[in-house]
């Protein structure tokens, strides 16, 4: 039941996109998102769509997994579209009762919808093809220059990877405790809000206890191995740029150039 929630939603496959350096994927995702907001006409979106389609195809991840992420933002998407559709002043297109759809409104609404869905799908590609651990590794490396201004980059990255590591463990634990309490006749589904909240106690108390126990054990294990934070720490698998990463950066630059140039087509 609870397994269906995917947070660290990595999808295993053997593809070029999977093999890319996480730094490339992080930078590319950020650039892709920026490009979506730089573009101001339909040609730009066609270019973005083609780029995204090629990347998805290369990633070998089934398209339905990208759509999964969309479900979460359907509501926000609807609000954005509706508000833009009705509240943008301009040349009236259709008018029913007090509501008027303007030409400009329709244009902005459609653009917003495309932007938001591309944004979600684009970042899904990253999270689906990169394990949470290499993602934090990439972030740590990218944020390294911030160390100069006393940002605890390593510690933040470590906390992130531990948090990410614990998500599936705690989900599994939740599933187990839930089942154990259901086996003792607990009911998590029926009743009003107050009753439902009360029904969570037999789930949350053991879950918190187990989370603290695990955190304690992990801290102990880290100390036992002399963990002292980031200073002078080396990595077993240091991130190294390969040829394909260089090519990927090149493709990215080309894509950005095409996107920007599209703004001057008309």
């Amino acid at each position: 039941m609870i397994r269906e929630i995917t947070l660290g939603q990595y999808y295993q496959a053997d593809s070029v996109i999977h093999k890319l350096d996480p730094r490339v994927k992080l930078v590319a995702t950020i650039c892709f998102i920026i490009s979506l907001f730089v573009v101001n006409n339909w040609f730009g979106y066609v270019v973005a769509a083609i780029f995204l389609a090629i990347v998805i195809k290369l990633s070998k991840v089934p398209f339905k997994f990208m759509i999964k992420g969309m479900k979460a933002i359907v509501f926000i998407l609807m609000i954005t579209v509706v508000f833009n559709l009705f509240l943008t002043p301009g040349e009236a297109l259709v008018s029913v009762w007090k509501l008027t759809i303007t030409k400009e409104g329709a244009r902005i609404a459609v653009m917003m919808a495309i932007r938001l869905s591309f944004l979600i799908i684009g970042s899904s590609v990253m999270t689906l093809t990169t394990t949470p651990n290499s993602l934090t590794d990439g972030m740590e490396k990218l944020m390294n220059p911030l160390k100069a201004v006393k940002v605890p980059v390593h510690e933040v990255a470590m906390m992130m990877s531990i948090a990410l590591r614990f998500i599936p463990i705690l989900l599994e634990e939740t599933d187990k405790i839930m089942k154990a309490q259901i086996a003792r006749g607990a009911d998590f589904e029926s009743g009003n809000l107050v009753k439902k909240a009360k029904a969570m106690v037999p789930l949350l108390v053991p879950l918190f206890i187990s989370a603290f126990r695990r955190a304690n054990d992990l801290a102990m294990a880290m100390e036992a191995r002399c963990y002292r934070g980031g200073d002078h720490r080396t990595k077993m698998k240091p991130l190294k740029y390969r040829r394909r990463d260089g090519i990927a950066y090149l493709v990215l630059v080309c894509y950005l150039a095409v996107c920007v140039s599209m703004n001057f087509v008309i």
């Binding site: 397994r3 999808y11 295993q12 496959a13 187990k176 405790i177 089942k179 154990a180 309490q181 259901i182 086996a183 003792r184 006749g185 607990a186 009911d187 106690v201 037999p202 108390v205 053991p206 206890i209 187990s210």
Partner: protein, 282 residues
């Protein structure tokens, strides 16, 4: 009163690339009052199987019948089923949550909608059945020792008065003394109440002494389903699937090879002793 599994299959993550076929065409009949050992290596599907028995997991295909009724029929009362098929999970002490031991054990019967008096009577009886002394009843369950916590958790399921009690690795993480105590307690309970007990374990040694029937799981299917003596005859095959017969089986086998006329199909140390004495006298 019986539980029937008919061509049960279960696949984890059916629609992903990581689909795992956890149960493959499992057919079992569990009649009343048997003491059954369910044995398998890690990942053989035994935990998945026991979660099917009280309807926590719905089989991908196949059906499960309790007293002749399909438990996944739309109008079947699952809550009632769960009180009749009591399932004690691995490390059950991790599910304790109440402020004191007694209240925690009351959780199950209270959920069944019983009166306060009946609930408390059952909780008291259950705690007595697992052999916990009165002095612990009003302590926080988190202050008890590991073995005591586990008893409390088992009592929590027993208080629902199940007809079938399923214990998933009840001895995991206990020291030998704690292990023997728990197993003896379960055997005693079985004798007194006559309920069906299914003991899940990966250790033949643990179950050989108590059970009258052994079901061996391997890679999701039932490999052997017979009385212990018959199952242990396959000790060589058992080794291949990462299990082992009890040590006495090996000793008797070795003695026989050395020329002592003993029967090799004994399962407990007591039986082995009798056999050896008999063999020496001849």
């Amino acid at each position: 009163m019986s539980l029937i599994l008919d061509h049960v299959n279960y696949i984890y993550g059916d629609d992903t690339a990581l689909a795992v076929h956890a149960l493959k065409d499992v057919n079992l009949v569990i009649p009343d009052g048997q003491f059954i050992g369910l044995i398998g290596h890690t990942g053989s599907g035994k935990s998945t199987l026991v979660q099917h028995l009280n309807g926590l997991i719905k089989p991908t295909s196949g059906s499960i019948y309790f007293n002749g009724e399909d438990i996944h029929a739309s109008d079947y009362d699952k809550k009632k089923l769960r009180s009749k098929v009591g399932l004690v999970f691995q490390y059950p002490e991790h599910q304790l949550f109440e402020i004191d031991v007694f209240t925690d054990v009351c959780f199950g019967p209270k959920n069944l909608g019983l009166s306060k008096q009946e609930t408390e009577l059952r909780a008291y009886a259950a705690l007595k059945q697992v052999g916990l002394e009165d002095e612990y009843f009003y302590q926080s369950p988190f202050d008890l020792s590991g073995g005591q916590k586990r008893r409390v958790a088992i009592a929590g399921v027993l208080a629902m008065k199940p007809d079938i009690l399923v214990l998933d690795e009840p001895t995991a993480g206990l020291d030998p003394k704690g292990r023997d105590e728990i197993l003896d307690q379960i055997a005693k309970l079985k004798e007194e109440t006559g309920i069906t007990v299914i003991l899940v374990s990966h250790s033949m040694e643990d179950v050989a002494k108590y059970v009258e029937r052994i079901i061996v799981m391997n890679k999701g299917s039932v490999l052997y389903d017979d009385v212990p003596k018959e199952v242990f005859k396959h000790y060589k095959e058992l080794e291949q699937v990462g299990l082992a017969a009890p040590q006495v089986t090996y000793i008797m086998q070795a003695l026989r090879e050395k020329g002592l006329p003993v029967a090799t199909d004994v399962t407990t140390i007591e039986e082995a002793k009798q056999e050896i004495l008999k063999g020496i006298k001849l």
